[in-house]
């Protein structure tokens, strides 16, 4: 109380922080191990659904095939909109794929 009186005497105000509290609800996640090479590997290109993304990934797939002739490309639409997971496709990639590129954000 004495401290508050002193602050008031000096023209200071005490106010509350308006922000919510962080919840630490997001757990860290390691990246998957990298590949030695893309030669002979199966790489999924997954369109997440933003406009123009699928067409761009088609061009990216063509580039990869031109430049890494032994690469296997699987170009897919993710099911649902860009904000939803696609557990079925993700399981398939884990089982059959060596790598994955998601795109194109924004």
């Amino acid at each position: 109380m004495a401290q508050m009186t002193s602050q008031a005497a000096r023209g200071l105000r005490v106010v509350l922080d308006p922000r919510g509290q962080p919840t630490a609800s997001v757990q860290p996640s390691a990246l998957a191990p990298r590949l030695d090479t893309l030669n002979g590997k199966t790489v999924y290109l997954v369109d997440i659904g933003f406009g123009g993304g699928y067409d761009f990934l088609e061009e990216a797939a063509a580039w990869l095939i031109r430049n890494i002739p032994e690469i296997q490309i699987e170009l897919r639409h993710k099911r649902g909109n860009m904000f939803l997971d696609d557990p079925e496709l993700f399981a398939e990639i884990k089982e059959r794929g060596d790598g994955v590129i998601f795109g194109v954000g924004g």
Binding site: A24, S25, P28, A30, G52, W63, K78, R79
Partner: protein, 460 residues
């Protein structure tokens, strides 16, 4: 991959999800660009790093992981102290502005005394957790208590009598400004006895800035979204133009007394004597622009105005003056549901127009590809075939508000998301009592309005 416009956001977003992802950024935008341009993007450089784009993709897939990528550290924000460092009033106002804790307008500083007074407006314990919120889809949420809500209510200029409504909004755990680049807007309206108890305007000019309760409740939702929903411009909020509706979120009360229909909350199973707030999400509200049902019935005018919307969610909400509801009842619509059924059946759009919308591309096309009906069947139709995209009449809402000076309405793409109890947040006394002078002024205004209506010879 993410387009270069979102380079900073994508990196921060990934970290907020606990991952140190490897990104490559093609130029922005991709949407609407011809194939030849997309090919140039693939053959060219990443504009963020200046390096060839596709070799960078190969590098991201083959370069060994760093220790940080193998063992990312948890991104935990430090707990925030309850009180800020004491300072002068002028410095504190500057601190709030510079930290983007406001909507840019002057605020009331949330001193301990003011927050304590605000808390007399509820029976809830100040330490009770009300919820968690983020304006993003999946980033870390912030948690907030009754006291944190009261702090933001003080900042908005609210009084204790408004707090139960603001707590109900907070309990929705929905921000008023979603992160989306598309610049969402929100709408909130109140039903039940608390409308009068706290002096909300449901009559003349209810959506214009003339009423304290409407103004501060709507503003409080935005301040809570900024401070409790972690809305940070360019970091979590990416609405390209933003929306002027974000200032107040179309906050009003339904004019239950002058409506020929059941109140909105009663239509949804609540009792008339319950006080609730209903919240909506969409983008746009189009005024009927003078159409008043004289030359053409309102429902036919509604069909014309609806052509402006992409019909993405299949949901619309008409915000109409009591005169419009009365006119529609005279046309044979005894309930809003009957109007919804008529609109659902009679509004038609060429399927090519429907699937030509960018929003439908992002949200409707995946449903069609996944075989969800009716989208999958629509997808197979020739472009000129007419479809009825508002195929769920229950998603077509009507709410009555206004002062009966003109039979106009707003057609909005607002989709109803929640209706929340206000009563659970009231103080034991029912509601914090306003001072007598405020009550007297409001009653006098209502009396004048009723006398004007009576003198006009108009009566429902």
């Amino acid at each position: 991959m993410a387009s270069a416009r979102f380079a900073e956001f994508a990196a921060s977003d990934a970290q907020n999800h606990g991952m140190n992802l490897r990104f490559t950024f093609p130029p922005y935008p991709l949407v609407g660009r011809p194939r030849s341009v997309l090919r140039q993007y693939v053959e060219g450089n990443d504009p963020v790093t200046g390096k060839p784009l596709m070799p960078q993709v190969i590098d991201a897939l083959t370069r060994p992981l760093t220790e940080d990528e193998k063992h990312p550290k948890p991104l935990r924000g430090a707990p925030r102290p309850r009180l800020l460092k004491p300072d002068t009033e002028e410095s504190l106002h500057r601190l709030f502005l510079e930290n983007d804790w406001t909507d840019g307008l002057p605020i009331v500083l949330p001193t301990e005394e003011r927050v304590a007074h605000m808390l007399t407006g509820t029976a809830a314990d100040p330490n009770t957790v009300v919820g968690q919120m983020t304006i993003t889809t999946l980033q870390e949420k912030l948690e907030y208590t009754v006291e944190k809500v009261a702090v933001n209510a003080v900042m908005a200029g609210a009084g204790p009598e408004h707090l139960p409504v603001i707590l109900a909004l907070a309990a929705s755990q929905e921000g008023s400004m979603p992160s989306s680049t598309t610049s969402f807007a929100r709408m909130a309206f109140v039903n039940g006895p608390i409308r009068d108890e706290i002096g909300m305007n449901c009559g003349l000019g209810a959506l214009s800035p003339f009423n304290h309760a409407n103004a501060v409740i709507g503003r409080a939702w935005t301040l809570m979204t900024i401070n409790l929903g972690d809305s940070r411009l360019g970091e979590t909020f990416m609405g390209s133009t933003g929306s002027p509706l974000n200032y107040n979120n179309m906050c009003f009360a339904e004019n239950e007394e002058r409506s020929v229909w059941e109140p909105f909350h009663v239509q949804r199973g609540f009792k008339k004597e319950e006080s609730v707030i209903s919240i909506f999400r969409g983008w746009s509200a189009i005024n009927s622009m003078g159409a008043a049902g004289c030359c053409r019935p309102a429902q036919e005018e509604m069909l014309l105005i609806l052509q402006a919307f992409p019909a993405l969610t299949g949901s619309i909400t008409f915000v109409m003056d009591p005169l419009v509801a009365n006119h529609l009842k005279e046309q044979g619509f005894n309930t809003p549901r009957q109007l919804g059924e008529w609109i659902s059946k009679n509004f038609k759009m060429p399927v090519g127009q429907y699937f030509g919308s960018d929003l439908v591309y992002s949200f409707g096309n995946p449903l069609a590809r996944d075989g969800v009906e009716p989208y999958a069947s629509w997808w197979k139709l020739p472009k000129e075939i007419l479809i009825a995209p508002y195929h769920q009449p229950e998603l077509i809402n009507s709410v009555v508000v206004g002062g009966e000076t003109q039979a106009l309405w707003f057609t909005t793409d607002m989709a109803h998301t929640q209706t929340l109890s206000i009563d659970k947040w009231r103080p034991k006394s029912g509601v914090y009592q306003e001072d007598e002078e405020t009550l007297r002024r409001r009653q006098a205004r209502q009396k004048r309005h009723a006398a004007a209506l009576k003198a006009s010879g108009y009566n429902l």
